[in-house]
Each structure stands twice: as structure tokens, then as C-alpha cells.
Symmetry: C2
Subunit: 203 residues, 2 copies
């Protein structure tokens, strides 16, 4: 079975939020050819520019997107607009039910919230945005690296998308496969400034 | 001082190899506006497709590239060709001296080697490619997350580019700035399959 993984891109999405999972699933596909297919989509199929200026070409518009087995929604400053954009929200809602999992990274959680998909769920987001997510009615906000509700997953900020993707590979393929992907992307992190799990206010 | 950071892209470069540093320097620029400028370049200024199919638009051709303060060379299967490509090697060589640091991630080390820039240096690369790098005359190959020779830096595989970039930010800006960038990208890694620093053979 080849799973189709759809990356929902929009202006000012944070690059690593979605390239982390892109790489994890890409490495999976290198290790086990045919296991998954990566598809980037945008509103109209036109290129999008990330929060740090990276310009990427996409494979399809929302309307032409193939049926997704997995959906990845990045965060970034662009979610301020995307989380209120009917086209984005309709597209995301249209994937629920058909997809095995709809996932967000970082402030992508606010897109899920905007689509009404976090009600009654546990969820997380970028550490600096946890207070804002706590304002969304019906969401149980937790400070975890990722939160798995089965069909809806949310990841913490930016690099947390790598961890969430590895977790999901372990669940949907196998723990052994996920362990190999983790090795393939040499994910033996060594943050030079130590592990700082409870961040001070830097913004 | 605004540092210009040039990302040398080519067909089948591994996406996360260079998007990791892109994100770290991008977050730096978000925290301290004007601190750096990210520029993606390719042979002819045309879009390039990564090893996992990501298609990106670039800002300039090699010939039109602005003068770099820092250079990032990714790895990936594309380095088999890129490490022997005179245009790539000439471009990389032309940056030495002018740039404060020329860096590689993963098998990008073979591009540096091809350009003759690792002779008499300590260097590292993707774990599975360490034996191949040991075949390059004059290079002292070490198994470290990143290796800093001052003007030439090499990182380990894929995700190691994030660590190397944070180290470099700490050196060229300040440790305090690098610590804030590490927080900004929520780099509090939690690899779900444990830390596996000495990988078994998975390829």
C-alpha cells in the first residue's frame, strides 16, 4: 500500500515545520520504495513562499489534490491568515474521514482549530502559542512533543514535526521501520546549547 | 552587519540537509532582523528538485550569486554528480577566502573534498558514508556531530545541519543568540525511538 501524504502549503508557512516530516517520510520512501508518495498542495497550485523566504513549487491545487492518506499542516506566521481562510479550512475538513490522520506542526494547530477539528481533543502547539491555544473552547491543551488522538495529531513547534512524523511512521508502518528512518536521517540530536525544555520568554 | 548565507542547491540534494540550517538562520533573522539574508543558488538559476521530490525556486545562478559570508552545501544522492561537477566545484572554491565559513552537511562533505578543500583538515559526513570519506587522501575523518576548522565546517548526516548551524550562530553572533534560536525552533528533540548514536547497517 502506497500512502499519499499531502502537505498543505500557504504563504509564510514555517519551512522546517513541514520539511521535517517531508524528510522523514521521504527517507521512509528511500528505505522502502513505494511505501508513500509526497504531494505538496497550495490554494491554486501556484508556488508559495515560506516564512523565511523559501519559494517552493507545488504539485497540485487544493481542488486537484489527490485523496490523502495523511495530511501535514505546518505552522508559521502564515497561520494567522490560514486559520481563518475558508479555502484552507474547507480543504482540511474535506480530508477528515478519508485520511488516516490529519496532522499539524507548530501553530498549524490553529488551522485545525479553525476547522473545528480540535473540539473535545487533546492538542499541543508551539510553546509560545500555548496560551493562545488555551483560549480555543473545547480543546485540552497539553505541553507535549506531539499528541496523538488517532485521526488527529498535533506536534509542538518547528523541529517537533520530525518527532511526530517518526512516531506516526512507527504507528502506521512499524516501530522497526521508524527506527530505521530515524537512523537514515541521522536523528541523533546534539543541541549545542543544551536541552532547554522549559523555554524562557524570548519573543 | 548583515551576513549573506548562500545555499548551494543541485538536483537530488537532500531536503532537510539544507532546510535545517535555512530554518536556524531564518529564525535568527526573525529574532534579530537584518542579521542575515538567505540566498538559494543553482547552476543556472533554474528550479531544482530535491532527493525526495521537493521542487524549489532559487534566487540566483552561480554566476549571479551575491558574495557569500557563509556557504551551506547539502548532501544527498545528488552529491555523486555534484562532487565531480566542475561548475559546482569552481563555485564552491570561489567562495573560499571571501566567506567566513564554507560548510557542508551530510555527504556535502564530498563536494568540499572534490573541490580540494578538505586536505589537511578534520571532517565528518553522514554515518553511512564515513568509510568512503576515509578513502579521500589527506582528510582526517572523525565521527562527530559537526567539525569546525574555522573557515571550513562539516556536519554529520541530515539533521546534523541543525546542530552545526546553531554552533555557527553561537560562534559568529553569540552563544546567547544561538540559545534563543534553539528555543525559537523549539529544538528540544525527543526522538521516539531513542538516541541511537552508533547505527547498525540499515542501508
Amino acid at each position: 500500500m502506497t500512502r499519499t501524504i499531502v502537505f498543505v502549503l500557504f504563504e509564510d508557512a514555517e519551512e522546517l515545520d513541514w520539511v521535517g516530516p517531508w524528510e522523514a517520510f521521504g527517507a521512509l520512501s528511500q528505505l522502502e520504495p513505494g511505501s508513500c508518495k509526497l504531494v505538496a498542495v497550495s490554494h491554486d497550485g501556484q508556488p508559495v513562499k515560506g516564512a523565511n523566504g523559501l519559494r517552493v513549487l507545488v504539485d497540485a491545487s487544493f481542488a486537484e489534490s489527490p485523496k490523502a492518506d495523511l495530511v501535514v499542516i505546518p505552522g508559521g506566521v502564515g497561520t494567522v491568515k490560514a486559520s481563518k481562510d475558508p479555502q484552507v479550512l474547507d480543504f482540511v475538513r474535506s480530508q477528515v474521514g478519508g485520511a488516516e490522520a490529519v496532522t499539524s506542526v507548530c501553530t498549524g494547530a490553529f488551522v485545525l482549530a479553525g476547522a473545528g477539528l480540535l473540539e473535545g481533543r487533546r492538542a499541543t502547539t508551539y510553546w509560545a502559542s500555548l496560551p493562545a491555544l488555551r483560549q480555543v473552547p473545547g480543546v485540552t491543551v497539553v505541553e507535549e512533543r506531539w499528541v496523538d488522538n488517532g485521526d488527529i495529531l498535533t506536534g509542538g513547534g518547528v523541529t517537533a514535526g520530525i518527532d511526530m512524523a517518526l512516531h506516526l511512521i512507527g504507528r502506521l508502518w512499524s516501530p522497526e521501520t521508524a527506527r530505521r528512518v530515524q537512523q537514515a536521517i541521522e536523528y541523533f540530536p546534539a543541541p549545542p546549547y543544551g536541552d532547554v525544555p522549559i523555554p524562557e520568554k524570548i519573543w
